[in-house]
Amino acid sequence: MVIYLLRRLGLALLTCVFISVLTFIIIRLPPGDFVDAYIANLAASGSSVSVEQAQAMRQEYGFDRPVVVQYAFWIGRVLQGDFGVSMMWRRPVTEVIGDRLWLTMVVSVAALFLTWMIALPIGIYSAMRQYSFGDYLFTTLGFIGLAIPNFLLALILMYLGFRYLGLNVGGLFSAEYVQAPWSWARVWDLAKHLPLPAAVLAMAGTAQLIRIMRANLLDELRKPYVITARAKGLTERRAILKYPVRAALNPFASSLAYLFPYLVSGSIIVSLVLGLPTVGPLLLQALVAQDMFLAGTIVLLLGIMTVIGTLISDLLLMWIDPRIRLEGR
């Protein structure tokens, strides 16, 4: 078990290094370097930078050194929390991203929980009552859910919420809390705004997970240990929840890691429509404006969070499946 953990941790670190290299490549991908872009930017707004100044900047950022050294420079700064300056906003990247990273996580995790809370019971129901009316109904709803573009649903829900429920739709905060410092009142305000975006984001994933859970469970229901459980005299409900459902959760836990980046990248348009202060729209803007420090930082952070998600799903798997836990015992 310790070996398993250590190996996973080592792999996670290695993956992070690869991600950082990729990010570095992305940042350097556009022609010219940051200083060229900076000068061009300044020139466009009327001011200018002397050749000496430019040279000094290049030295400061290490742009006159070999690529490997430049990478070392960059990663050294990143490790100190300095992600460079956003061209578009002319402010440090950390400042631009600010709360957005955490808010993205909050929205994504909320959507994830909602997905599980809806998909698990329905998937179990569909498998246990295969080909029943309810199964067909949920299947149909599920495919509709998969087919409707998220942003369309977001618009419809916004309209309905505003028109009939008088909800304050859009964004994650009410106007008075947008710029306010964190307080319990602000958290509560966030909680009130969360259901709508979470529901919209959860929809497609839910439809997918229902199908996965249904298929997994149908496989497991055919296994002999289910008959064993029934032959013991357990109620059908207990026999199924304790044994095959537990086994069917395995693929669920391992797909957890992939859901996170999926939610973030899939949420860009929805976030734009709903005006959510998440990193999705920021990433889109940064890419359009070729703001490579900002884009690179977001890609790096999302990558690292995905690695962390993978680690969490590995821990979950260990908890669910004793065969993994006891490996090498």
Binding site: K223, P224, Y225, I227, T228, A231, K232, G233, P322
Partner: protein, 341 residues
């Protein structure tokens, strides 16, 4: 005719049991009028090829036939002739009564000790669950009982093995765990569905010896499902030979081996490898394959493969069923022989 005395209490009487699987492709009669008795302290061997309905019989008795299978006729009388007599075929499979029977009155031992246990829980967890299902004991008592059960089935160091996961045990030990679990509710009837098929020969002998010992100790009525005539010879008191959802021959075990009455039984016995055979002698097989139960041959279902057909009657009429509790064969040739005698 030698008849084995049947003084022992009849624990379970199956009468004309019929089970159907309805699907879009049509109706499959998995069981078509099966009758036999289980007696305390005795072993009924049920033998036949794959697909003859052996396992469906076992699951029907416990009322855990998978959908779309359902019982369409017949009775399964638990404690027949006593005031407690109950027809399992008439119970709701999800009722409390039926669940008390499952594991509490009738235990089930499985073919695949690997897949019949869940890999997600320790063997202790799975046995304790079975113990507590059928008696009102504390967790601590249930645990002690589980250790006791593991010791009874011959598992060394049961105190440590109780916290092992099934995949940490050998096939033989796993099957012992399976037996311990079947005995957890202290049932008087045990159904063993091919309990030794997945095991190597040495382990097989040990498991059979264990079953015999436990049966003697607890006076268990054992229903042993197998396709192995060797296991039948070693274990069974009576034998029911099944073919396509029917019992085609029923007889005490010596009689089945000494004077089989149904051509199918004779063919099965010829297909058993013998060390007395001359070298390079080809092993006799039964020609053809078991027909799909959905397209059951007319008349006697065995007639297309039968080497002893006596004429059109075999193809057109259904031979009389084996009378329950008596030795007999469901075969026109046997009827003719009986009339001649």
């Amino acid at each position: 005719m030698q008849q084995t005395p049947m003084a022992e209490r009849t624990a379970l009487a199956i009468r004309d049991l019929a089970v159907q699987f309805e699907s879009e492709q049509g109706v499959v009669r998995a069981l078509d009028g099966v009758s036999f008795d289980l007696h305390a302290g005795r072993t009924l061997g049920i033998v036949g090829e794959s697909g003859c309905g052996k396992s469906v019989t076992a699951r029907s008795i416990l009322r855990i036939v998978d959908r779309p299978g359902r019982i369409t006729g017949g009775h399964m009388l638990l404690d027949p002739g006593t005031p407690q007599e109950v027809d399992l075929a008439a119970l709701d499979p999800e009722s409390k009564r039926m669940r008390e029977v499952r594991g509490g009155r009738i235990g089930l031992i499985f073919q695949e000790p690997m897949t019949a246990l869940s890999v997600h829980y320790t063997v202790g967890n799975q046995i304790i669950e079975a113990v507590r299902q059928h008696s009102d004991v504390s967790k601590e008592e249930a645990r002690n009982r589980a250790i006791e059960l593991l010791r009874e089935v011959g598992i060394p160091r049961p105190e440590t093995r109780i916290s092992a996961y099934p995949f940490e045990l050998s096939g033989g030990l796993r099957q012992r765990v399976g037996i311990a679990m079947a005995l957890a509710g202290d049932p008087e009837i045990v159904i063993a569905d091919e309990p030794t098929t997945a095991l190597d020969v040495t382990t097989q002998a040990q498991i059979l010896a264990l079953l015999r010992r436990l049966q003697a100790e607890k006076n268990i009525a054992l229903m042993l499902i197998t396709h192995d005539m060797g296991v039948i010879a070693e274990m069974a008191d009576e034998v029911a030979v099944m073919y396509l959802g029917r019992v085609v021959e029923f007889a005490p075990v010596q009689q089945v081996f000494a004077a089989p009455r149904h051509p199918y039984t004779r063919a099965l016995l010829r297909a058993v490898p013998s060390i007395l055979a001359t070298p390079r002698q080809r092993l006799s097989t039964i020609g053809g394959a078991v027909p799909h139960p959905g397209s059951r041959p007319t008349g006697c279902a065995y007639h297309p493969r039968c080497s002893e057909r006596i004429g059109a009657i075999c193809m057109e009429q259904r031979p009389r069923p084996v009378p329950s509790g008596e030795a007999g064969a469901s075969c026109f040739k046997d009827e003719a022989r009986e009339q001649a005698a």
